[in-house]
């Protein structure tokens, strides 16, 4: 056990483990110290200085986030000196900030705004604005960068380095020229950026936001000629409520469907359907690769890695272009859905695909980029016309004047609105793996996967890299080549963990057969398009909600989803068949590291 030390904060005796900060100690006794550059996910920076406190015996103030609590310290968190200094610091930050709060996307959800209100900052004290003529970088399909809103807390920089190991954003310049920028100050669409949007959900202000598309969507909805279809990803339903008055972890699936219908979407469908479809295609692809390796003794790329996460896909394209053959050729559920909307769905509904606008409601910033990839036009049109984040959907619901909490529940429309619990858990890290194992084990052995209630717990939770293995015994005759094989799996989330997995593959030391990788910490529930704030506590609650949704589903294995059976019977014929190959699979491109 680590050593316990005692200190005094505002007259309270606090005992805390050695090594914890003064800020941690204050939290323990419910004393709130304001912070800006601090984020639970990231290393301590200590650069905004808002968290300063007065420490007895010191003639300067002490930053509470970066100073370890020490035995016998006497701390005052709200002395006149502290209050004056914080107010002054806030005034400085505001003087550097574009204070057009009324027209700001983060209005009412901004940490700088909250503190500014708290300290009632007088904007006339200092000369302002310090800088003018900032241009907003709108070059990326996914991320907008507005320097006039940047407070230089470097949370984005630390996010991109520590969580994602991409380092797209960095500090440049010194003193008055210090800013957060990109390699050679290139625009956001020309740099090595995975579009994961983690920088957005870690930004305290609106310096980094997703590129918004909802005005175009409203326009399409208002156009009577257009048939506007929206499909919503599993993790949207467990997070959207946070923006509309519900506590974290509330499932609002039925209300969300009702709201979207009321807003005028012609059809509200479920991305979970194409998640189930992904399992069929990806599972078959894995079994094919295993057969080729074990029976035909062919050189095939193993382990196979999932390709659902567009942030991850762009990461591997940039960082490991020589190893793209490990990626499953399956499109992500969003892109499968888009391709089918303008073919299968149009056919069944008797609609002209050129009149269909296909919208994806996603927890993700990278999905916007993915929708605009030039190769994603297999339906003959752009398969997905626009990707909306959970936040944008929340905004649109508010704009509609809908009283969300009073709505009745509704089911998704049909067709492509039905899903299994396996499709739902795609939203949490480990979910794709679990869904795949549920179906693959059943197909191989004819028995359900040997975990209680089909809950494959080793692949669940927030550990960065998770492992599991399954031994196949008493296989059905067509899978006899897997008899006695112990298949090994890994799950990684957050690109820094993905890098570890990939480095193993590069070194030829990867022991796995199948790997799930998601770009964002926690998987999609922690995606770059999710409500702000997002931290581990919130991720856990969203994950709990996802698994609760799964448990509530009558069907929990993808291959048992009746709509999946139907689409293979009526349209696709076989997994990896010709139509699947054309509509549901894709190729990747080698990109540069810089």
């Amino acid at each position: 056990m680590s050593e316990i030390i005692k200190l005094n904060i505002d007259g309270n005796e606090v005992s805390i483990e050695k090594g914890k900060s003064i800020l941690d100690a204050a939290k323990k006794v419910n004393i709130r110290i304001p912070t800006l550059c601090h984020h639970e996910d990231l290393c301590v920076a200590g650069n905004c200085r808002i968290c300063v406190v007065e420490q007895e015996g010191k003639n300067t103030l002490t930053p509470s986030c970066s100073t370890p609590a020490e035995e016998g310290m006497v701390i005052n968190t709200s002395s006149p000196k502290v209050r004056m200094a914080r107010k002054d610091l806030m005034a400085l930050l505001v003087s550097e900030h574009d204070t057009q709060c009324l027209t700001c996307y983060r209005n009412t959800n901004c940490e700088l705004q909250d503190l500014s209100a708290e300290y009632n900052v007088d904007n006339s004290i200092y000369l302002s604005p310090l800088k003018e003529n900032f241009e907003i970088d709108r070059s990326s399909w996914s991320i907008e960068k507005d320097e006039s809103k940047c407070i230089r807390c470097q949370r984005c920089v630390r996010t991109c380095a520590e969580l994602q190991h991409v380092n797209a954003l960095a500090v440049t310049g010194r003193g008055k020229d210090m800013r957060i920028s990109t390699f050679m100050h290139l625009p956001m669409n020309e740099i090595v950026c995975t579009n994961c949007g983690q920088c957005i959900i870690h930004c305290p202000t609106a310096a980094l936001t997703e590129r918004r598309y909802y005005d175009e969507i409203w326009e399409a909805i208002d156009d009577p000629e257009k048939h506007v279809v929206i499909n919503t990803a599993p993790s949207v339903r467990v997070a959207l409520g946070e923006m509309l008055g519900y506590p974290v972890g509330t499932r609002v699936t039925g209300k969300m469907v009702t709201a979207l219908k009321k807003m005028g979407f012609d059809s509200v469908l479920d991305t979970d359907f194409s998640a189930d479809l992904t399992i069929m295609e990806e599972g078959t692809e894995l079994l094919t690769r295993l057969k080729e390796a074990l029976v035909d003794k062919k050189e095939v790329a193993l382990p196979m890695i999932t390709s659902c996460s567009p942030g991850w896909v762009k990461f591997i394209e940039h960082m490991y272009p020589e190893h793209l053959d490990h990626l499953s050729t399956c499109k992500s559920p969003q892109q499968m859905f888009g391709a089918l909307t303008k073919t299968y769905y149009a056919e069944k509904k008797g609609l002209d695909p050129s009149k269909i606008v296909s919208v994806a409601g996603m927890p993700c910033a990278a999905k916007k980029y993915e929708a605009n990839r030039p190769e994603m036009r297999d339906s003959g049109f752009q398969d997905v016309d626009a990707g909306l984040t959970t936040r944008e959907i929340g905004h649109m619901i508010k704009q509609s004047g809908i009283n969300f909490t009073e709505l009745e529940d509704n089911d998704f429309d049909s067709i492509m609105g039905e899903s299994s619990g396996a499709g739902v858990i795609f939203g949490a890290t480990g979910g794709v793996m679990e869904a795949a194992l549920r179906t693959a084990y059943f197909l191989i052995t004819g028995r359900p996967v040997p975990f209680e209630n089909l809950n494959i717990t080793p692949v669940r939770g927030l550990k960065g890299i998770k492992e599991a293995s399954v031994k196949f015994e008493d296989c059905l005759p067509e899978y006899s080549f897997l008899e006695g094989v112990e298949a090994k799996f890994a799950v990684a989330h957050g690109l820094i963990n993905a890098r570890q997995i990939m480095d193993q593959i590069v070194d030829g030391k990867s022991p796995y057969h199948f790997i799930e990788i998601m770009a964002c910490p926690g998987g999609c529930i922690g995606g770059g398009g999710q409500p702000i704030p997002t931290n581990d506590e919130i991720r856990k609650k969203r994950i709990e909600a996802i698994y609760a949704e799964d448990m509530g589903k009558p069907v929990r294995m993808s291959h048992e989803n009746p709509e999946i059976t139907m689409i293979y019977k009526d349209f696709l014929k076989n997994p990896l068949g010709e139509k699947s190959h054309h509509l549901l699979h894709t190729k990747y491109r080698k990109r540069k590291r810089y």
């Binding site: 200590g46 905004c48 300067t60 002054d88 610091l89 400085l92 930050l93 200092y126 020229d177």
Partner: protein, 387 residues
């Protein structure tokens, strides 16, 4: 405190009457604790500017347990108006290197670096010759300590020891959060003792003449002798070694041109002393022992002087912490606004408050010390700021 105590001394610059490496050899035969204690007793404080007691620093460093320790000689001499370290490296490099070796031996370090200001890179060939000579000597006396030169990249803030270490690790030169201090976790996370060039040379001399003799120089508050980089309106510009504890009056009489209006002590990070305070001010009080002294005569506009300082600060702040990054810009634009009449003279008081906030909340000495020159100039030369 006494008048007319200006005494030129010749401790640090004295020629090699005793070969510095012989001092090292003798030191090595003593007990480490005794040598460190001698340094503590000598009252020697860091000569880079912060003035931390050198012996104590070494004592703490020696107490650290680690498989690897480092010693760094901070030769990133960037304080405006300071040029004494360069002279030391040119004229008595062996005293500096010997100081590094004594330090390394005392604290248990085996690897040392001279962090050399990029503008001084022309010194490298001579220094490398000296290091070679030292290597030979170290081998003879069986001292396991090697020295490398590391070249800075031009940032003022890298003179701050943790920013210096960051830059050595290949990162942006930005000060770290303290604690941990470099003697706990420094270069590559290992205990690292960072000393200024002059501090190391002085340590060598303390070891040669002994704590008592060294301490006999100076006053009760400040011990020993010190190099002063004298510039500005002075007929005797250059580096002079003086006994510590002299009044600004004596100093101005000796080095001024007879028309001295103010003396800036300790570089831009230090204080500006107006003539009316010459008598009561002792150079070096308030720990600004970096040794930069700039002399201004009556032809100088103190507004221009301050503007120049603030311009420098707004440029040289690393920019990571709020008070320093924005504060330096606000101070600069603020005095411009007062001068231009777009802000009332009282705005100077608001700016002085800001300078105080910067002192209270900045991450490192750079932002913390802006208030020294700002407040002393604004207070004493207010009219010049306004009209």
């Amino acid at each position: 405190m006494s008048n007319n105590n200006l005494r030129k001394v010749d401790v640090i610059f004295s020629p090699y009457s005793v070969e510095p490496y012989d001092i090292l050899k003798k030191v090595k035969q003593r007990k480490k604790e005794d040598v460190i204690q001698e340094l503590i007793d000598s009252g020697l404080r860091g000569r880079g500017g912060a003035g931390f007691p050198t012996g104590l620093k070494w004592k703490f460093a020696a107490q650290q347990k680690s498989d690897q320790k480092y010693v760094i000689c901070n030769a990133d001499e960037g304080e405006p108006g300071t040029f004494k370290d360069r002279k030391l490296l040119v004229e008595v490099p062996r005293k500096v290197i010997s100081g590094m070796a004594i330090c390394a031996w005392a604290v248990g370090a085996t690897k040392g670096f001279i962090y050399l200001r990029r503008e001084y890179r022309y010194l490298i060939p001579e220094l490398e010759k000296e290091i070679k000579l030292y290597d030979k000597y170290a081998k003879d006396i069986e001292l396991d300590f090697t020295i490398e030169i590391f070249l800075g990249a031009g940032a003022y803030v890298c003179g701050e020891e943790t920013a210096l270490i960051e830059s050595m690790e290949g990162k942006r030169g930005e000060p770290r959060n303290k604690p941990p201090y470099p003697i706990q976790e420094g270069y590559l996370g290992k205990p690292t003792t960072v000393n200024n060039v002059e501090t190391l040379a002085s340590a060598t001399m303390v070891c040669r003449i002994g704590a008592d003799e060294y301490k006999s120089l100076g006053t009760d508050d400040q011990h020993g002798s010190k190099l002063f980089s004298i510039s500005g309106d002075s007929p005797k510009e250059g580096v002079h070694e003086l006994e510590l504890g002299m009044s600004v009056e004596d100093f101005a009489n000796e080095f001024g041109d007879g028309d001295t209006k103010a003396v800036q002590v300790g570089g831009v990070a230090g204080f500006c002393i107006p003539r009316k305070q010459f008598k009561s001010s002792i150079i070096g009080e308030g720990n600004t022992t970096g040794g930069s002294t700039m002399i201004f005569n009556s032809t100088r506009s103190m507004y221009n002087v301050l503007h120049n300082y603030l311009d420098f600060y707004a440029e040289e702040s690393c920019g990571q912490c709020t008070p320093c990054r924005i504060g330096t810009q606000q101070l600069l634009k603020g005095i411009e606004a007062v001068k231009a009449g777009t802000k009332p003279p009282e705005y100077l008081d608001q700016l002085s408050k800001l300078a105080e906030t910067m002192r209270l909340t900045s991450k490192c000495g750079l932002g913390q010390s802006v208030t020294n020159s700002f407040s002393s100039i604004v207070k004493n030369f207010r009219e010049e700021m306004i009209f």
